[in-house]
Symmetry: C2
Subunit: 633 residues, 2 copies
């Protein structure tokens, strides 16, 4: 501890380790060379842990210096950092008292891979979805103003997230907040030609490499004006054209939104970063700082062999999501089947919102590049764009993670369903997704869709059924049709192939007075439990749904003879299929016992099998229900 107290006097040569620091406060005492050493240790720790636990590596490696600079210039938690998406928060977690817990990241009972206020006062707001940070920061900044608190709120947002409409709404409303700083963490790898004009615009700025001159100009301004708000503009009127150019003309998009723009600044030069942050802190106006970072920075395999690194890490460049639709997973099967259908039918179009690899659409793009669309992180646009395509006779298929479809509820209702447009949703990662936790579980797609008139939903239980459902939804259905499938791969099926279809399969056991209903991934667990329990005399009948909505009326007649019905469902309960089935039973004089096994709350991060078991949706859990409610005979 005494070493710590004398930190500022320590020679750079002295061995100083992350574990020795009292964080975050000791950070401010470090020299820049010490910072570099600590940054190296942070990277090393992250690579070590993430290689075991999984998680977002590249984006976190790119944000080490930026995060350190923020903690050295500002005072968290009085100053608030709002991390957009949140997958770049690992350094922040390490620097705010969670070094020891870091090895538990994304594990059950461990710390989350995203900011979480319950973990630390330094995590001021949860995140997980894209483009929320500026709006959140506006709220916090406004609250500070009302409470006469003159600390700052700093939103850190990636260039991918800037394409989301919510970020634009936030910028449009943030242009007057004096204590708001927006940091654009502009990552070279995120910029891709196909995600629209904003990316191209950012690239054009980035390539100008004009930071140094900008910085000098800023310094010049600040010397003359201690309180910088409108004065910035005034002072600039008197400066030379070249300098004005750097500060004003170059970054008009953000200037026009009411922000003073600083940048681009090298996001791995701690000294430069801190200088700009200090400058921003002195401005009494909203500031937009454009920081250039390198994804994967400091990770040796990437630095030594960048081309191989690019090849291997086929993660989605927009999101840094390392999940790629591999050879055998639902996403890949979906992507390949869609490519096959698209080659045959010139009306089929495929749309992704920045998740080309995650959703398996690279297969479609390879076969039918002309009808493949990556709209960037813009789910609202994706849906309304699809509706526009459909209105002229095309058959658009939007492949989207369940959790991100939440962004487009109004567009589903207003732009697709009211007009009866035939649009197909491929709802990927539907149900439990595991380690990413609350913000990413795909539990809301069914309640969303069942509320919308004229919607058809399929939940295939295996790859072959996925293909059947896609053909049905794309080629034969009309209106809004959705096919939902889980994250990961098909497990070895326990149920017979001849039960595959796009409607339902009822398997009656004459000895049974209990009926088990399920669909999708969970059906296999139910079927296994059914077999296991039957062998010990506990008989049950089975109803496997494939088209889960709308429910056929005949199902109520078919099933109401049972004394007990248990519905196992991997979805939020309210608005879910089990709830609708229950309503249908009530409307059909069912007087027996009805039990729903479903999800009623937000699900914390843990492995998928762990979560399914807790929900009562594993084979083991289903057996328990059969033993409890069934009868031995």
């Amino acid at each position: 501890m005494s070493m710590m107290n004398n930190l500022e006097k320590m020679p750079d040569q002295q061995e100083l380790h992350l574990e020795d620091l009292k964080l975050p406060q000791d950070l401010k005492k470090l020299t820049f060379p010490q910072c570099r050493r600590i940054a190296k240790e942070i990277r090393s720790l992250m690579v070590r842990v993430i290689s075991k636990n999984g998680g977002h590596l590249a984006s976190n490696l790119g944000a080490v210096e930026l995060t350190m600079a923020l903690h050295r210039v500002f005072d968290s938690p009085q100053d608030k950092f709002v991390w957009d998406v949140g997958h770049q928060c690992y350094t922040h977690k390490i620097l705010t008292g969670r070094i020891k817990e870091f090895r538990t990241i994304r594990k059950e009972n461990g710390i989350s891979g995203f900011p979480k206020p319950e973990e630390s006062p330094h995590d001021c707001f949860i995140s997980g979805h894209s483009s929320t940070s500026i709006s959140v920061a506006c709220g916090i900044a406004e609250s500070m103003r009302l409470r006469h608190d003159d600390h700052h709120v700093i939103a850190v947002i990636g260039d991918g997230a800037m394409t989301g409409g919510l970020a634009f709404e936030g910028l449009n409303n943030g242009g007057k907040l004096k204590n708001l700083i927006v940091i654009l963490n502009d990552n070279n790898m995120s910029i891709s030609g196909n995600v629209g004009s904003v990316s191209g615009y950012l690239r054009s700025i980035r390539e100008k490499e004009s930071y140094v001159r900008t910085k000098q100009a800023v310094e010049k301004v600040l010397v003359n004006t201690p309180h910088v708000g409108m004065p910035v503009a005034k002072v600039l009127k008197g400066t030379k054209d070249g300098v004005k150019n750097m500060l004003v003309r170059q970054a008009t998009l953000f200037e026009q939104m009411g922000f003073v723009y600083f940048g681009p600044v090298d996001g791995h030069n701690q000294q430069d970063l801190e200088e700009v942050l200090r400058t921003a802190k002195r401005c009494e106006c909203p500031v937009f700082i454009h920081v250039k970072t390198i994804k994967g920075k400091g990770y040796l395999p990437a630095e030594k062999n960048p081309s191989q690194f690019h090849g291997v890490s086929k993660f989605d460049v927009m999101t840094g999501n390392p999940e790629v639709a591999g050879a055998d997973c639902y996403s890949a099967v979906f992507g390949k089947e869609l490519a096959r259908l698209g080659k045959e039918n010139p009306r089929i179009c495929a749309i992704t919102a920045a998740m080309k690899y995650g959703t398996g659409l690279q297969y479609f793009e390879a076969e039918v590049p002309d009808r493949f669309y990556d709209v960037g992180i813009a789910e609202q646009h994706a849906v309304t764009f699809a509706a526009g395509l459909a209105s002229t006779g095309m058959i658009p298929v939007f492949a989207v993670y369940s959790t991100f479809l939440q962004r487009a509820y109004d567009q589903l209702v207003h732009d697709i369903a009211i007009g009866g447009q035939h649009v197909v949703l491929g709802i990927d990662r539907a149900g439990v997704v595991g380690e990413d936790g609350e913000t990413h579980q795909g539990m809301f797609d069914i309640p969303m869709l069942t509320s919308i008139p004229g919607t058809t939903i399929y939940a295939p239980a295996c790859y072959d059924e996925l293909k059947l459902c896609m053909q049905q939804a794309i080629l034969r259905d009309s209106g809004l049709a959705a096919v939902r499938y889980p994250r990961g791969d098909e497990k070895k099926m326990s149920f017979p192939k001849d039960s595959l279809n796009t409607e339902y399969t009822y398997t009656e056991d004459e000895k049974a007075d209990i009926l088990l209903i399920s669909y999708g991934r969970v059906y296999d667990a139910v079927h296994r439990a059914h077999c296991t329990c039957a062998s010990s005399g506990y008989h049950s009948s089975l109803l496997k749904l494939t088209k889960i909505h709308p429910l056929e009326q005949e199902l109520a007649e078919l099933t109401k003879r049972y004394r007990k019905i248990i519905f196992f469902e991997e979805s939020m309960g309210n608005g879910g299929i089990a709830a609708l089935f229950g309503t249908m039973l009530a409307e059909n004089h069912f007087g027996g016992e009805y039990v729903r096994v479903t999800c009623e709350e937000f699900l914390r991060h843990a492995s998928i099998p762990t979560i399914l078991d807790k929900l009562g949706l594993s084979e083991h859990a289903v057996c328990r229900y059969i033993y409890e409610y069934g009868t031995k005979n």
Copy 2:
């Protein structure tokens, strides 16, 4: 008819009337003076009809010349016009074969007040909600490209709608579509200081009055380059600075999004408008045209006495929505009560998304201006901004129309509910709204909210109960709490005052074997029917819910003794309260008859009482249910 064939030769003096024209084709034959006369007739027709039927007057009066110019320069329906929001489409309807039907606008079985493809091939896409047009147009433009159709798609969007994130997503993705034209219908009255940076930016352009020079520059460019795409930029490099300034520097925001910018152009000068449109038609690149229009243009009361006109027409300036929370309607009661609470409690903040008057929040603004926020048409931002405020201990109340809340489903889930932020929603115009039709009915708020864990919903049945619910939701509840109330005013109550509370009221009739359940506005109809039928020997018990979600478990016990239960609900059925109640009954061994009277499809425009009666939610309809299912004794 022979007159029509010689139209182009007719002298201007000749009396020519709208009714004599074969539309839209004859439009192209008119001289500009004839156009002016026809424009006058169109305005006169609109004022006459809207004064009787209600509707959007000012926005339509402002778009007469623009619409005529579009139909004269382009060929509808091969060229497609996509009207954002759609409330400015009356001239378009008049010009495309619906003059006779125009007097039926917004009436049951009459034409809709919004674009509707089923009415006419000239209405290429439905609208009603804001900011969708650019994305829809992108889809149509892309489909045209794929089908080698070289017609154009023209999105017409107001400056208010430009603040919605979806419009930005559309612009970001539209910057490469060669046959896309976006027309900004920039209406002076829409621009208000409190709706963010984009409005300020547009105002700054608008005030420059530089159209004429711009036009000349454009002409100059086009003479040299028949195919204008990238060449525009190239040619401009060789032109003088002054001209470049007009075309490029002035409008960087849109240029940066990949569009060629023309404007601002006077939206009431038909000749100028058509010239610019023809120029845009010749460009082989996406074009953004900035048109200045005057809301209410040509309406004499407004022109003669503009100040009085401004004073009287207290409609929401952002939307042109003439509905103002008057002295006695749910919105006004809500606004006044919130103002009272806000004065007493310094943590309460009020937020609107461009609906200050519609939601009654002008009362709050008058009392507590510092904590009042109009964020423009940006519901996503409104919710996430509220979450940011709440995270620091403020109590934000977002007053929003039910139908527009659909825009913010993900933000409710992700930014409010997961973190358990205490945010209150005032859901105005919940349920049937009447003449605005499918796109505006408030039928989805309950399914949306019931799917989200930890949400509380109240549905007061009268003004006094609204106040009770607000106090409960704002001051005593935690997490996401919503109070929903209908459009319009409280009807004379038939039920006793002592049944007002924030939970439920059960009124048992010992002679009854039938139970009627309801909440909100509909409860009064149910109570009246209950009284009417009881007097003729048909007895029923009543359950009035005020807190409609979550349902108390004890209600299942309380009610399952009834042989028949009928639930009357003004909401979409799936995910609604009646469905959840039915599920609860099934889970509690209810073996009787359960009937839900609710909404299962999109509701066309008609008066509120008409629609409620059709749904089975009027007093008369409820009586029919009692007679059908009840027993006389």
